[in-house]
Subunit: 428 residues, 2 copies
């Protein structure tokens, strides 16, 4: 295997990550909680390919995501292939292909990798993971509320609280109604929404210029600014009020607040939109989502498939967790018991004990080399393995084993035939 | 979202797979068993990037895998990037980069995607998954035996038996000793091993030609053929005998048999080699592995890191499972209870019940639309959800709920305050 010669100089690609056991334990912990929250609400796990035909994204062309940020290659047949930059198009393709045979409403989630060619920075990589959650074919405030609560339930399960992060929601139809009442033409809605979406990231003058370009007079601009600063839910926000009421009954009302500034940049959202923001305001949006109801015409009008959902990337979220000291200290090793080997002659005795412990379902490591006992125990200690079993000639003679509790620094003798039973109660 | 327009014509790429809920349930079932077996033996999960610098594979150039089968692309800086065709180089790179600080012996496993540009066929795709298991820094027969038993333990856990699949093992040093005793020069070992590895896939005449090219006389060839047909473990196979004894004490002796024909195609194996074969002989090798001890010089001699391990792809294995009818029928939905909604007015009551059930940890779906009860129950039925809860005006009046057992076609009334407790015992 000559290629090992170059390992010392070959570094992983910029923006990719190596997950050593401790890092992987955190990743698994995070994904397990995503999976758990989704399943608690009845969502079914799906996955698609990680590589897709470039055309699946290309119709969105003109957008930064496709033209500048998508990793792509040509196969030997000249076909343009993309490493998926997001999961939604794959999910939607799968839905469209079997829309008729699928039971509705449809609750789906996915956890998997995506790639974007961006400048790597804190909270942003070129290879990252996304948790995508969608409910299809249920155009009700309750569906929107549920999806919000799946997100909140997950955030709660990983130790965050509404003091750390809030889900800010709005209704695009409400915004458009307001714009209409201000006299803004519907042809300008797109531009105005874009301006609102960017407002907090751009200077006030740029914001006003954007509104001006969308045809808003100074008076209209002032009225709009005043609407945007009113955080009380308007009386006529019937849909949003239903969403709020449902999130309260679902037990997550305190995670969600109305924010007239949230409109989301993507044009395809049609009603409820939301973004998660850290309360301290140190990060950009942690994630976002919303309702998109126009799949009906897009799919040729054969079937009305609307959807509501969100996608959470793992990198900014991990930053937020680190900042709030919510990443748990997880054992890198799954092992509960290290069975040491005393010497070559006694190896089979130790193997047999290890077999018995494993047959009882206890994750058990057997030291694979007959070396000094001290070295084996030091290894167990450094790996954070809680118990070590010792079986020397004296123990064999009297049919016992010594079990060391490496955390408490105590030890106990057990009859060999009672070891498994005793360890089952303390080590599982 | 204009890109939906093309969904009806955009198909997934050849050799990739869509995992709808039922397919995904099988994939998760398979991966969970891989993970469980690895952890039972104390292996720690790691993962690396799915894209790597092409050089990581390129030093192996000349081989089919890199030059013809690796998907690659160039980033905007002109750097050649590979979609990893296998996991081992990534694992080895990670090991090399932290070899000094890692506790030894090292037990690592990974489960993740890999890509190869091959002609898709039954059991072979362009995007597939591999389970990679390695023990490093333990050059003992016990380490080899353990790795074999991790594989056997997994095969057993998914319902296979030694009647379906066998792990055939050999020792390359034993083979080389035999070749030496036949008078074959060590410079020809590589060619002879290659011929043996291909023997069963090529005509007898081609095999003899290959041996002839490696300088073997007719007499040497005859002797070799007779050695290759002797399935009894030779008396001087000290290492292999120790491996066998350990696998027996570990409880998996009946999965493993000696086969003088197994030498593995890859040149880097140095001692124990093994391949899993279906007993009926309908498939090529299901997976393979072995011991590679020469990391020491390859890493510049600074540290002696040897290893033993295997990689199992998911696709041929799945074929074998299908053929043996071992793929379990798994529910596509995680939901235990569907809480129906009677009408708009009673929606909040149903939401509240769903919340209570979820807070007790029971995966619960709430029908998100106030529609006909029949439709909701038919949905539950088709999704395979075992219980449905009904809460109509009569039930609300008398503080009860109706629970339908959709499998047994029975129903029962519970006091509302007792629902969660009652369902905890039957639905979890």
């Amino acid at each position: 295997m000559t290629w090992y010669y170059d390992f010392m100089i070959i570094q992983p690609l910029k923006g990719t990550r190596d997950f050593y056991p401790k890092d992987m334990a955190t990743r698994v912990w995070l994904f397990d909680h995503m999976r758990h929250s989704a399943k608690l609400f009845g969502y079914q796990e799906t996955e698609g390919p990680y590589i897709e035909p470039f055309e699946l994204y290309a119709v969105k062309s003109g957008e930064e995501l496709v033209n500048e940020q998508t990793f792509h290659l040509h196969d030997r047949g000249g076909r343009k292939i993309a490493l998926r930059p997001e999961i939604t198009p794959t999910v939607s393709r799968m839905l469209a292909q079997k829309s008729k045979e699928l039971q509705k409403p449809i609750r789906w989630f996915s956890i998997g990798p995506a790639w974007r060619y961006e400048q790597p920075q804190k909270g942003r990589g070129r290879e990252f993971f996304q948790w995508e959650v969608n409910m299809f074919a249920a155009n009700t405030p309750l569906a929107d509320a549920e999806v919000l609560c799946v997100a909140a339930s997950f955030l709660q399960s990983i130790g965050l609280t509404p003091n750390n992060i809030k889900l800010k929601i709005n209704d695009r139809q409400l915004v458009e109604k307001r714009l209409t009442s201000l006299g803004v033409s519907s042809t300008h809605f797109g531009l105005v929404l874009k301006a609102i979406d960017r407002k907090e990231k751009i200077p006030a003058s740029t914001f006003r210029e954007m509104l001006h370009a969308a045809g808003l007079s100074d008076q209209q601009q002032q009225k709009l600014e005043s609407l945007l600063s009113d955080k009380d839910l308007p009386d006529d926000a019937v849909w949003l009020r239903s969403v709020f009421d449902a999130t309260k009954t679902l037990g997550f009302g305190n995670w969600i607040e109305y924010d007239p500034m949230i409109v989301r940049g993507l044009l395809y959202y049609t009603r409820t939109v939301f973004e998660a923001h850290d309360v301290k305001g140190e990060f950009r949006a942690i994630f976002g989502g919303g309702r998109f109801d126009n799949l009906v015409e897009a799919l040729g009008g054969k079937e009305n498939i609307d959807g509501v959902g969100f996608a959470i990337g793992d990198m900014v979220l991990t930053l937020l967790l680190e900042q709030n000291k919510k990443i748990p200290i997880l054992p890198a090793s799954p092992t509960k018991i290290l069975v040491t080997v005393f010497d070559e002659k006694l190896v089979p005795k130790s193997i047999d004990l290890a077999r018995q412990l494993r047959e009882a379902g206890i994750p058990t490591e057997l030291y694979p080399i007959a070396t000094k006992l001290d070295k084996q125990l030091a290894y167990a200690d450094k790996q954070g393995i809680p118990y070590a079993v010792i079986l020397g000639p004296d123990e064999v003679k009297s049919d016992v084993v010594v079990v060391k509790d490496l955390l408490k620094r105590t030890q106990q003798k057990f009859l060999q035939r009672e070891l498994v039973h005793s360890m089952e109660s303390i080590a599982v």
